[in-house]
């Protein structure tokens, strides 16, 4: 016969109603808490002033029509949201945004990983090459883009080099497909060094014993990469995918400097469209709705990636 004894656990946190009164935190604990709050106060105030307040104002403005020149500010309810769904240009803008983001993520991560693998070995001059590929990251974005703007002109440096080998280059920034490809490539070269460094750090954290064991077992290099390297650096891949996607959705300076959204509207991505509506056309209410749309897209994509990480990121399953 088995006797089951159910023993009540000690009541560590009795309910206040009918129970003993909650003990006041000790003076020491209160002081500790105060110090903690003081430490985070600058950051909390910064977030409040530069994140929460703008978010609140964006929501507020989105329900209004603000004519800056006339000085009028009128409540319009959901009119700006309705306009979003009726906007004939929005589909093209979202398509351009998707093309840019997908192109950038694929090209940036592929190139960054390839460079990291190439430069993750002991050889002469490896430090020089790492510096060369990382240096664009610290160059001013606008300066970088302006220089590329000159290079990509019809009579610019790129076509000049192509001409020396008998190739007539396209008018890179004036033709739809090449304009988008040009903007993507300029951005890839600008930031590939950052992801390369992250991948390098991750690669150097993979235990060598795993590679040695795989080689002893006769695994080929491709198998080693896909079965050992890739899973072991997958947390870093997740991180780079998230920051690259979020960054790609915020691209602005490259578009403003290189193409101004053209030719046609082929490179008018969401942030640039938002800028046009709010700051060029003076439609701050509609611009605010577009900002909320951008926020939701970034939020959803991040949540999706975070949720899916368990399926492919090592250490997460």
């Amino acid at each position: 016969m088995t006797v089951t004894v159910v023993r009540a656990l000690p009541d560590r946190a009795p309910a206040r109603a009918g129970g003993a009164p909650r003990r006041r935190p000790s003076r020491q604990r209160r002081q500790d808490a105060l110090v903690g709050y003081l430490f985070i106060a600058p950051q909390a105030l910064g977030i409040a002033a530069f994140v929460l307040v703008p978010l609140g104002l964006i929501a507020y403005y989105s329900a209004h029509e603000w004519n800056v020149l006339a000085g009028s500010f009128r409540f319009v309810g959901t009119e700006n949201v309705e306009r979003l769904f009726a906007d004939p240009r929005l589909a093209g803008v979202l398509q351009a945004t998707a093309v840019f983001s997908i192109g950038l993520v694929i090209a940036n991560l592929t190139l960054a990983l390839a460079l990291a693998v190439l430069l993750n070995r002991r050889m002469r001059g490896v430090g020089f090459f790492r510096t060369v590929f990382f240096s664009p990251v610290v160059v001013s974005l606008v300066a970088w883009t302006i220089v590329w703007g000159f290079l990509l002109q019809a009579d610019g440096g790129i076509n000049g080099m192509l001409a020396t080998i008998g190739i007539e280059g396209p008018n890179w920034l004036r033709e739809g497909p090449t304009a988008m490809a040009s903007v993507v490539i300029v951005q890839v070269f600008k930031n590939v060094g950052l992801n390369m460094v992250l991948f390098l750090a991750a690669l150097q954290g993979v235990p060598h014993e795993l590679f040695e064991a795989a080689r002893v077992d006769g695994a080929r290099p491709a198998t080693i990469f896909w079965r050992i390297t890739f899973p072991m650096i997958s947390p870093t891949i997740l991180l780079t995918v998230i920051i690259t996607i979020v960054g790609s959705l915020q691209v602005f300076a490259q578009i403003a400097v290189l193409t101004q959204g053209g030719p046609g509207t082929s490179t008018t991505v969401l942030v640039y469209y938002l800028f046009q509506q709010a700051f060029q056309f003076g439609k701050f209410g509609y611009g605010s709705v577009l900002a909320i749309l951008l926020f939701l897209i970034v939020l959803v994509l991040t949540i999706v990636q975070w949720t899916l990480r368990r399926k492919w990121v090592f250490h997460e399953n």
């Binding site: 002033a49 104002l57 000085g71 004036r174 030719p263 046609g264 509207t265 700051f279 056309f281 003076g282």
Partner: protein
């Protein structure tokens, strides 16, 4: 958990407080002490700014209620956007230069103060001296909402040295021979390009983006982008199709005009002709080539002229609006207008003589000024201006991109452009 709740509450409270503060900022009050005035401009030319400063110092010497006048140069490309953003951010200037393509937006919205009462009351201002043709864009009823301080006709500068190199007559010789028309300019431009590899003619600052600058060409065909009361798109008219066919042929067939993405600077000696405003003449002070200034060539519709304008307005919501208007009356009085005329052709009839302007424009002869400036201001049409100009500018630019390809269907592109423009005109 308690800490998290407290943090959230603190953050929300701070955010709410700042939001409420931002949303309920008090209306600007009338200034009590001496005021600081700020005028936004798009020139950063040191000579221009020095002249402005000297006029401002003279004003402050007589008016103790103004302690400083700052001339704030903003980049030209984003000038109107920057002004709008400054106004939205509660940092509006007291006075602002306004481009003619944004004139109707500024005047129609009530953003600018009516200057007529101040100008009429200002001693020695001579309000009646202002030319009706020059001020037309800036008037609404009896009100005058900006002073068109620069009324600068478009003209053609030509590089005589480059034309001679290609064994071509100078522009002056063509004018004398009665052969000064767009077909001749295009033919000579193509010949220069073929002979020297340099550009033929360019419309300065157009760069296949600022399409409204092409009004300096299409007016020669009698074309307009919209009708006179700005309610109907006419950019697909037969005259406009002909004008764009002329430009397209020059860009993609004959090589008379550099194609998209190709840069050429007339003032660096890289082109035979350029269409631009005469106020650019200063760039030729150290030109390493001989040059001439002539009116715009004749088009199929005959002779014509186009005027570019810029006005100075007072932002109506400025707490210093009346003081700013008083300063503007001083800044643009006959004496100061005479000084400003060396850089900016004035709207004053008394100053619009070749002889007067020649004294302050040493690079240009009285004859050139008479034929181009005086005649141009008297008979010229202003660059296209319409309410909602920024959105229309963008929509048309997007559509016209399809036209700047070698095999473009010009009537179809212009028709699509009208489809895009019409709702914005009506809107």
């Amino acid at each position: 958990m308690r800490s998290a709740k407290m943090l959230t509450a603190t953050g929300a409270l701070a955010a709410s407080a700042i939001t409420l503060a931002a949303c309920s900022a008090p209306a600007p009050a009338e200034p009590e002490g001496p005021v600081d005035l700020r005028m936004t401009v798009w020139t950063s030319n040191e000579d221009h700014l020095a002249l402005f400063d000297s006029i401002a110092e003279a004003y402050m010497a007589e008016n103790e209620n103004v302690s400083s006048v700052t001339f704030d140069p903003l980049p030209f490309d984003d000038y109107t956007t920057t002004i709008t953003t400054q106004i939205a951010g509660g940092n509006a200037p007291d006075l602002a230069w306004v481009l003619e393509n944004a004139a109707l937006d500024f005047v129609g919205s009530g953003a600018l103060l009516d200057l007529a009462p101040t100008f009429e009351a200002a001693e020695g201002f001579e309000y009646d001296d202002l030319s009706d043709a020059a001020t037309g864009l800036w008037r609404q009823g009896d009100g005058l909402y900006a002073y068109p301080f620069s009324t600068s006709p478009f003209a053609v500068f030509s590089n005589t040295t480059l034309l001679a190199e290609a064994n071509l007559p100078s522009a002056g010789e063509q004018v004398a021979a009665g052969d000064w028309n767009w077909d001749a300019v295009a033919a000579n431009g193509a010949a220069v390009n073929a002979a020297t590899g340099k550009a033929g003619f360019i419309v300065r600052d157009f760069e296949y983006q600022q399409w409204d600058l092409l009004s300096t060409v299409w007016n020669g065909w009698g074309a307009q982008p919209w009708n006179d009361d700005r309610t109907e798109c006419t950019i697909d008219s037969d005259e406009m199709v002909d004008a764009f066919e002329f430009l397209h042929e020059a860009a993609f067939e004959t090589g008379a005009m550099p194609g998209p993405g190709t840069t050429a600077d007339f003032f660096a000696g890289e082109a035979a002709y350029t269409v631009t405003q005469i106020s650019r003449a200063g760039l030729l002070a150290e030109a390493g080539f001989d040059w001439e200034l002539n009116p715009l060539p004749e088009g199929p519709a005959g002779e014509y002229s186009v005027v570019g304008q810029a006005g100075i307005g007072v932002i109506a919501d400025s707490p210093n609006a009346q003081v700013a208007a008083d300063f503007l009356a001083f800044f643009t009085n006959p004496e100061n207008s005479r000084q400003l005329a060396q850089y900016f052709p004035p709207p004053r009839e008394s100053l619009l003589t070749g002889e007067t302007l020649a004294k302050t424009n040493p690079l240009l002869s009285a004859e050139q000024l008479d034929s181009v400036v005086i005649e141009g201001i008297a008979t010229g049409v202003t660059r296209p201006s319409i309410e909602g100009s920024a959105e229309i500018q963008q929509a048309v630019r997007s559509e016209l991109d399809a036209l700047w390809t070698p095999d473009a269907d010009i009537p179809a592109v212009l028709s699509a452009t009208c489809d895009a423009m019409q709702p914005l005109i009506q809107g």
